[in-house]
């Protein structure tokens, strides 16, 4: 009785499975490269040319696309913060790709002196906290992560509150008699993070669902999806 022959495509699939598994576990940066190739450029993509357009129109569009790319690089360059002895500048490698959580992977890790719990800032404002550190990368939990809760203070009177992360972060658990108003700055007051780092600005105040506390909705002067560089405290 003859042995059943394994189809050739199964051998090919098995080889691909092994290669992909090796990439996943030992060279995940290839996945980030593929992701970057498939993602739009930050701030907008280049214009495409239709098959029916003339050469002049193609050149014009290509010129506009190159100008857009230069503008994007200029934006990134302007975001590059000046490092200090107590901070490390980092680039964002990738982001959490699904709902309800908001994490960034940055290109610095324990080899660069980064420790878990370090504050991460963007343009001088607290963006999040280092959650996990690897040798050359680190995972940052941003304030737009649903799981984040952080003590903060609001306004010049320093009313205590609790920042609740999410796609629309709010500050809750503010005493009902605290004097807060739109325009007040929310700043950090959590252990392990530099005190008084600005986080956001109050845009509206209201009462919590149980009517015991005030809560504030916030405004952020940046879009976390376009953050490309950050500063991390050592």
């Amino acid at each position: 009785m003859g042995r059943k022959r394994i189809p050739n495509n199964h051998w090919a699939a098995a080889a691909l499975i092994v290669i992909l598994a090796l990439l996943i576990f030992f060279a995940p940066s290839y996945g980030w490269t593929i992701r970057a190739w498939l993602s739009p450029m930050p701030g907008g993509g280049a214009a495409g040319a239709g098959a029916s357009q003339t050469d002049d129109q193609n050149l014009t569009e290509e010129n506009d696309a190159l100008k857009a790319q230069l503008a994007t690089f200029a934006v990134v360059a302007s975001e590059l913060p000046t490092s200090t002895p107590d901070t490390v500048r980092a680039m964002v490698y990738s982001r959490y790709p699904m709902n309800f959580r908001n994490e960034l992977l940055v290109n610095v890790g324990s080899n660069d002196g980064i420790a878990p719990g370090a504050a991460v800032t963007f343009q001088g404002m607290l963006l999040g906290q280092v959650e996990t550190v690897f040798s050359d990368t680190a995972l940052v939990q941003t304030i737009f992560d649903n799981a984040l809760k952080m003590p903060v203070r609001v306004g010049s009177a320093g009313a205590d509150g609790l920042l609740q992360g999410g796609s629309d972060p709010i500050v809750g658990s503010i005493a009902s008699n605290a004097a807060i108003e739109p325009g007040d700055v929310v700043y950090s007051a959590a252990p392990g993070i530099p005190y008084a780092l600005p986080i956001a600005q109050v845009v509206a105040t209201g009462t919590s669902g149980d009517s015991f506390f005030q809560q504030a909705t916030l405004n952020f002067p940046y879009d976390v999806n376009n953050v490309e560089t950050v500063l991390i405290t050592k």
Partner: protein, 146 residues
């Protein structure tokens, strides 16, 4: 026909990846990749499915280790394959059910607290996944690639 189906699947998976990251750059998260892999579970054998799943995991993994989230993401299409083999429902009925169940399981496992407070986000994600899954059915069905 086998080669055409595989080439088409690769193109669809790349499209799903591009769509997911394009929407994500705008702050909208729809699991096109997961929906695609779940639908593939009804059209491919386990070997081919594993290749597609591992590619999806490689592209979507945002950190240098395989976290619980990514493990669950990869297991869901395999579970859909097992479901298809065991129950043998019609693809048109089984795949949407698998997509809905897969999305709910993913978010219950990765963000259970946020799941109940942000059900509208889940609904939008599900809708996008079902629409894209339906698109894949139509393509495979029209080309009679089942």
């Amino acid at each position: 026909m086998l080669r055409l189906r595989s080439i088409l699947a690769i193109l669809i998976l790349l499209l799903a990846c591009a769509l997911q990251f394009w929407f994500a750059s705008a702050g909208t998260f729809i699991n096109f990749i997961l929906a695609t892999l779940i639908v593939f579970a009804f059209y491919f054998d386990i070997w081919e499915l594993l290749v597609f799943v591992l590619f999806g995991v490689l592209v979507i993994n945002w950190q240098p280790v395989v976290s619980t989230d990514i493990f669950i993401f990869g297991i869901i299409p395999i579970a859909a394959y097992a479901f298809h083999k065991v129950f043998s429902w019609s693809v048109w009925a089984a795949a949407p059910v698998a997509i809905v169940c897969g999305f709910i399981v993913l978010y219950l496992a990765t963000a259970p607290a946020a799941f109940f407070d942000n059900w509208e986000l889940l609904l939008f994600d599900l809708l996008g996944g079902l629409v894209f899954g339906g698109f894949i059915f139509l393509v495979f069905d029209r080309l009679k690639l089942s």
